[in-house]
């Protein structure tokens, strides 16, 4: 089962990728031409850092756990090297799996390597990500740049990413490997409005082509028969998001926290795509420092979407495109979380600086409006626990 988020095979549409490639080159060309080279240095280079964490997801019959590590190091002249490693160990008896197949275990391994380079007022980042599991292989390359304007009050960022994925099917050698490609264009503007207020506007376009549906899942006809799902060869989605962050000062008290006592963050995203999925996301996060080295946070996110045009809990057998993926149905979910972080700032143990440890516990509740549990005939809902903990330090 694909756990990376989908997708499957199909025929690659080569002609369609030439346009975006030209556009990408044009963007880079324009930006490089206009950037003044000798100026005040701008975007802050990352500090040398190590972070190691543990992920946990449990609900709806699916459990995913595994470690994740990131190491970051400055190498000559304003360049930073980053390396990452993540493992997802999946045990799945999800609703689709138990009603159409049998429970399984799977391991996904992901390696990433990236570099950030400062050149004048611009930060350029190149990243490569490789993900492997028994029936899904993925290679992703992304190039991004961020540029400071107006005395660093505004940061403009552009990013282009391309994934070349191979989709297979366990226990079915005749399926072979099918292509799935994804291209992402992202642009964002971040503005510091006052010393305690930040606003960010983002736009992101995701273009998929190839086998988009999950090869293991079937749709169900009106008469109750299982038939293969059939999706269009391409899917283009666009997201518009606004995020804002506001800090409340702590007056003149000295607690080493840069003068911030608490902060509030609001996020909103509107998404729509060529499958006719429309969704809105709204999230609020509140964080507060306690007793010097302790930081606590709470967040609440509400998400709702309406269904893809060819989605159906039951579909007519003669409908060309058929989908029964609950992630394409009409549903809403609520996600609540608590974070606790302990950080020793301005502390040094040998080569370790500023160590910290944190844990985020969260709960998601999904309610599907037009996806039913075939075992009961009732509308489906699931409750999921998502936990993440990590520790890290500068060195």
């Amino acid at each position: 089962m694909q756990v990376t988020g989908t997708r499957g095979a199909g025929r690659p549409a080569d002609g369609a990728s030439a346009g975006p490639r030209r556009l990408w080159k044009a963007v880079l060309f324009i930006v490089w031409m206009v950037i003044p080279i000798e100026r005040s240095w701008a975007i802050e280079p990352a500090q040398d850092e190590v972070e190691a964490g543990y992920n946990y997801y449990h609900g709806g019959g699916v459990t995913v756990t595994g470690p994740a590590v990131i190491v970051q190091k400055n190498i000559l002249n304003g360049a930073t090297l980053k390396a990452g490693y993540t493992v997802d160990i999946v045990s799945s008896a999800s609703i689709d799996v138990v009603t159409q197949a049998s429970p399984f275990k799977e391991t996904r391994t992901e390696y990433s390597l990236g570099t950030d380079i400062l050149r004048g007022d611009t930060l350029v980042g190149v990243d490569y990500i490789n993900s492997r599991e028994s029936d899904y292989l993925s290679d992703t390359l992304s190039v991004g740049m961020a540029h400071d304007l107006f005395d660093k009050n505004m940061t403009v960022s552009l990013k282009v990413a391309r994934s070349w994925d191979q989709v297979g099917k366990n226990n079915d050698p005749s399926f072979g490997w099918k292509n799935f490609d994804r291209t992402i264009y992202a642009a964002g503007v971040t503005q510091s409005v006052t010393p305690r207020w930040l606003i960010q506007l983002n736009y992101e376009l995701t273009a998929d082509e190839g086998l988009i549906n999950n090869p293991y899942r079937s749709a169900i006809t009106l008469s109750g028969a299982l038939v293969p799902e059939n999706y269009p060869d391409a899917r283009t989605g666009q997201a518009w998001a606004i995020r804002t962050s506001y800090g409340f000062p702590n007056g003149a008290s000295d607690d080493g926290n840069g003068g911030i006592r608490s902060s509030i963050q609001l996020d909103y995203r509107y998404y729509y795509d060529t499958f006719d999925v429309h969704s809105q996301t709204a999230k609020i996060t509140f964080q507060r420092y306690f007793v010097s080295n302790w930081l606590g946070g709470v967040f609440y996110q509400y998400y709702f979407q309406d269904a893809a045009s060819f989605y159906g809990d039951r579909v007519p057998a003669n409908q060309l495109y058929k989908a029964r993926d609950k992630e394409l149905s009409q549903y809403h979910d609520q996600w609540v979380g608590l974070t606790l972080k302990f950080k020793l700032k301005q502390t040094q143990w040998g080569i370790i600086h500023n160590p910290y440890i944190q844990i985020t516990n969260s709960w998601m509740l999904f309610n599907y409006d037009n996806f039913t549990d075939p075992r009961t005939g009732q509308l489906y809902s699931q409750r999921v626990y998502v936990i993440h903990t990590d520790l890290g330090f500068n060195y």
């Binding site: 963007v27 206009v34 304007l149 505004m154």
Partner: protein, 168 residues
Amino acid sequence: MDKRKAIVLFLSVLIFFATSMAQGAGPGEKAPDFTGKTLLGKNIKLSELRGRIVLINFWGTWCAPCKEELPYFNRLYGKFKGVGLEILAVNIDKVASQAARMSGTLGLSFPVVLDPAGDLSDLYRIRSMPTTFVVGKDGMIRYVHWGFGPNDPARYEAEIKSLLKDGS
């Protein structure tokens, strides 16, 4: 496609306008005179340091490169203090005790001037953190360092040595 082109054009225009950034105080200018109060409560007037090479460094406890730069300045000060180098570390934290704590932790041997209201930073038109002005014996700004990177230690040494040779 049109939407994407529009965004790209918009961002390029933005970047084009960005070339008109304000300039900080630069080489060839007279270093603006000021009287600053140090952590120890003393007053220091820049013009009284005429005849010595003065490094005016702007730093904050919340600025990571600043925290790397200060221990280096400590060593630099130790090396060239006897032959006419002075370092003034202007701290821009809103809360002086944070600066005092860091100064103690790092064992800084040069004066830390407090500028919580940002008047000095404004006077020197600081555009980035950290910023260091290398002022010659004649009170003129000779070199400006925006930020602190791996190349800076060698640059500082070379600049100070050349200014020491300077008769003025």
